[in-house]
Symmetry: C2
Subunit: 233 residues, 2 copies
DNA sequence: CGTTCTGTTGAATACCTTCAATTCGCGTGG
DNA sequence: CCACGCGAATTGAAGGTATTCAACAGAACG
């Protein structure tokens, strides 16, 4: 029953937020140029400076996008999950990836070759608008990241992350979903520092830590921290 | 001769890189929705969190886009000059400006109302592609900014700025074109620190400083700095 | 059940900031 | 044309936050 696989794939494309609201015709054209790929945990998808010939959309799993310092320290720019595209910058500007991409959890992804994709964008304004919305959201996100890195100290960044970058999944509990070392890299610091600050926050009754589960005990105090208040010694 | 003013304005639009390569029809439609505005030095164009009803393109002058910490410290995100659009993020995502904008040098600008502009984008794929290119470039720029702020120390950031963010206008001389305090804010530091580092670099024969003119004396050493090497004490 | 990666803890250090006091530079007005 | 005044820039001393380095504990995985 060869039809099943094809139908399933059409839905796969249609499910991607980037392609939301596109007419069937466009979805079919996208399907025509899409390539399914399995990406394994630990795999480097691309490196900074590498020539790009297309971009990816995750269907499952997670990928981290990051920069490396000359001494090997890593700054995570994004962690993307299902439905999110990555590596699309060099499709529209420049031709090289501006950062590294490594798979955190084994993923199913769809790859779109640059040339064919650009042709589709040229022919369909609503696809272009979806893209503009996504890129704009990322610019907004970057302004927050820069603000965080430059204008806040680590406890403040952590509080902000716990409160906003997760959402209250289960009332007052946050599941980091990534290793603490990775969280440190996302917050622009190192594991040792993060560990010490988690300690302090626990000692002051703001949170409780059990592995990757963090209970938000004193939400008010966390909010004051996120607003810029200092963490007591 | 009313025609002259109109023709001049058409050229004004056509000259903007964002609108490069657009057919006359589109340029005329853009002209139809554009509003000319004079923006004075020191004027706040918008504040973070403010509702946006359109965006700007500078024809002359300069604007700085920045964030403020809870204690009033400023981090500059961009300094834009002639031909560059700003405030366009909330046109496509969200509805509020993610940062502040203040005029550094009195400017002539063109304002495009959100609604009408989006209509034009929907009708013209090449306009959309131009926009995608600009937003992508900014994302690329932000990856560099984050890298700089998070993975480099101030001397390295300064060296990078001197070498790349200006271009060799007059062989080996850089004109900052902004106050040193503003440069500090752009580099994610404060005037005192910048001053001390300019001193050190001068003492070690890397540069010579005369007001806003900086001569690059030892370009090799600056390049090594930008690559991550440490500045001697 | 051992090996390896992740996370924690302590002490020393480095970098940058803060605060305060001058000094410099430049536009304005006498 | 020079003097004044104000913001910008510089300098010094002290302090704070985060990093580095090293050692150890713990968890995950095969």
């Amino acid at each position: 029953m060869p039809g099943v696989a094809i139908v399933k794939t059409v839905e796969m494309i249609a499910e991607i937020p980037l392609f939301a609201g596109l007419p069937d015709k466009q979805v079919n054209e996208l399907l025509g140029i899409a390539e399914e790929r399995r990406l394994d945990r630990g795999q480097m998808i691309f490196a900074e400076g590498e020539l790009a010939n297309g971009f990816y959309v995750l269907r499952s799993g997670r990928v981290k996008i990051f920069k490396l310092s000359s001494e090997g320290k890593e700054q995570i720019l994004h962690i993307f999950g299902p439905g999110e595209p990555f590596g699309e910058v060099p499709v529209f500007a420049g031709e090289r990836f501006p950062a590294y991409a490594e798979i955190l959890e084994t993923s199913e992804a769809v790859f779109f070759p640059k040339q064919s994709f650009v042709k589709l964008v040229k022919s369909d304004p609503s696809l272009a608008l979806n893209l503009l919305a996504i890129l704009s959201k990322r610019l907004k996100y970057f302004t927050q990241l820069v603000e965080s890195l430059s204008l806040k100290e680590v406890p403040q960044r952590l509080a902000t992350y716990l409160l906003f970058f997760r959402g209250s999944e289960e009332e007052n509990s946050v599941d980091l979903a990534i290793a603490k070392g990775q969280l440190a890299s996302l917050l622009g610091t190192i594991p040792e520092t993060l560990s010490r600050i988690l300690n302090k926050m626990t000692a002051q009754g703001l949170i409780e830590v059990q592995g990757r589960q963090i209970k938000l005990i004193d939400r008010k105090a966390l909010e004051r921290l996120a607003m810029g208040e200092k963490l007591l010694v």
